[in-house]
């Protein structure tokens, strides 16, 4: 046990299961990383409770003192609060007494959390402030005389708020979030979270019957963009010949898929249209205003889809701004919490523009539906078939980074993953 937080730090150091051996060819990913319960538990220890910053929410989700939300670190339910002085806290959503999950609301505003079972009471920092009948009744019962309330608060995470984004870690000596992101990725992150005040437009939640890493892979996989998402190609939002850059941090854990949307409809090369069955010249939306791009970023890229290891994605796509929090729920299920936001400076029309544009993403969005369906298909394949290895063969690790026909970022992620997991 770690003295300060009460969380096991960086795993138990136990050896990986001996029967699970990674294939020699690193373009292969074995089925068991998506299905094995022991791997899943090792991930909780070494990844989510290890030397990483976990995304837990946005400052605009808790805009006022006393605001709180339910959130997660790995599979563990936590509460994120903003205290009366404006500081952020992240602690376990599990009472220190008999272990009840005490916070049952999506969000709210309070001065304290009272566990409904026996009314143990915690403040906005997660400290225990009241225990009913602590001294007993009529001199009988009650807590032992040596009971120290300061030692029985909720288990807390170390918190860092960086540019409106709240991160938490069980590791006591993490580097600052800036350094964790690293130079290139941080630059892209800073364009989405540019320091202006954000406003929350709302959240989506969905359960996806797939391993949590599939979602990381999905946003590290630019290859599928024009093949699965024919909405993009049909209406000329994105085709394979659009300028792109697939950025991966030096140790392989974070990534950014950058793309540039041409003004007007893109020129579709013959090579493109032959490969993309859905492209039909001249097809137009009834309401084209949905695709309008109001310039608002200091970047030559019109879109950036980022993954921040281990549980965050951040997206800016034309005027859509969102984050996704990946919550693992066993080897074969994840929950996604999408936070969609705009800027405090948006006028009513801009807010409505963002709301209209958000038809593209989310669990009811044109792209969101397809990603969730495709990932379910992959997990169905994993669950019901003879074991094999998946392939991530496309592209060359050393080539220029401006092609989307590559799985380079997925390979980089698994290189880092194997190191962290000692697999």
């Amino acid at each position: 046990m770690d003295g300060t937080s009460g969380f096991p730090a960086n795993g138990s150091g136990a050896a990986a299961p001996a029967d699970l051996v990674w294939p020699a060819d690193e373009t292969q990913v074995p089925d068991w990383v998506y299905t094995d319960r022991r791997i899943y538990e090792r991930e909780q220890e070494r990844i989510f409770f290890g030397r990483h910053w976990n995304f837990v929410g946005l400052e605009c989700e808790v805009p006022k003192p006393g605001d709180y939300i339910r959130s997660y670190v790995g599979e563990v339910p936590v509460v994120v609060t903003r205290d009366m002085e404006g500081g952020f806290h992240v602690f376990e959503n599990r009472c220190a007494h008999r272990g009840a999950e005490y916070c049952r609301e999506y969000r709210g505003n309070t001065e304290r959390f009272v566990c409904p079972y026996h009314n143990w009471t915690y403040d906005l920092a997660g400290d225990l402030v009241a225990v009913p009948f602590r001294r007993g009744v009529k001199g009988k019962g009650g807590m032992p005389p040596g009971f120290d309330m300061t030692e029985h608060g909720l288990r807390k995470f170390k918190v860092s708020a960086y540019r409106g984004v709240i991160f938490a870690t069980a590791c006591e000596d993490m580097e600052p979030v800036e350094d964790y992101l690293g130079p290139g990725i941080r630059e892209q992150f800073d364009i989405i979270f540019d320091g202006t005040e954000q406003v929350l437009l709302g959240l989506h939640r969905n359960i996806l019957p797939g391993n949590w890493k599939l979602y990381q892979e999905n946003l590290k996989d630019p290859y599928h963009a024009t093949l699965l998402h024919t909405y993009l190609t049909t209406f000329g939002l994105f085709v394979t010949s659009n300028e792109s850059d697939i950025m991966v941090d030096p140790i392989g854990r974070h990534s950014a898929l950058l793309s540039r949307r041409p003004q007007g409809r893109p020129d579709v090369s013959e090579e493109d249209s032959a490969q993309i069955a859905a492209y039909r010249e001249g097809l137009k939306l009834n309401d084209e205003s949905v695709l309008n791009f109001v310039r608002e970023f200091d970047s030559s890229w019109s879109g950036a889809a980022m993954t921040i290891w281990p549980n965050m994605t951040a997206l800016r796509q034309t005027n859509i701004l969102n984050t996704r929090l990946i919550v693992p729920r066993g080897p074969d299920e994840l929950m996604m919490i999408w936070a969609v936001f705009g800027r405090a400076s948006d006028d009513e029309e801009m807010t409505r523009h963002r709301l209209r544009q958000n038809n593209i993403f989310g669990p009811g969005g044109f792209l969101g539906i397809e990603d969730n369906e495709a990932l379910k298909f992959v997990q169905d394949g994993l669950r019901r078939s003879m074991p094999r290895v998946g392939l991530a063969l496309l592209g060359d690790d050393e080539e220029e980074t401006d092609t989307i026909i590559t799985e380079r970022a997925i390979r980089a992620m698994y290189r880092y993953y194997r190191e962290t997991m000692a697999l």
Binding site: G202, Y231, L285, G362, P363, G364, E373, A374, K376
Partner: protein
Amino acid sequence: MSGTATADKPREARADRAAFRDLRLEIEEFHYDYADALERGEVEQWCEFFTDDAFYCIVARDNHESGLPLGLVYCEGKGMLKDRAFALRNTEMYAPRYLNLQINNVRVHEAAGTTIRAEANYLLLETLVEEPSRIQQVGKYYDVFERVDGRLLIAERKCVYDSVVINNCLVFPV
């Protein structure tokens, strides 16, 4: 909260009900046709239940109650409905499924001129190949109907769903 509000004025409510009985029957028939179009996957036909400048959105109940406007689907005008119908028919990839849309507890709140305000409960059951049937959405419609050339059309439909955590994804509208 809303439960007690209705219980507080039973007499008015009863008088309203009598006055709106025919209207309620008409709206129920409307809902049955609407559900039938969606169950058959006739998404183009679904658009025709709306006025040209209709507003249609599907909003999670927690967002709705927190005053957060984000929609799972958010359409201003029939053009956007048609674009969704087009995407569902031509571009979207999703597993085949059977849909069963139940609409009930219809209540008419107000009828003034050609405008009618009403609500209803809805329940969308979804069945995928070789999977047990499941509840995809349970929620409430907050509707404004407009009578155009004798026919009822939706001018505004807010679908507020209690089933906040969506089972993978919502493909078809409700």
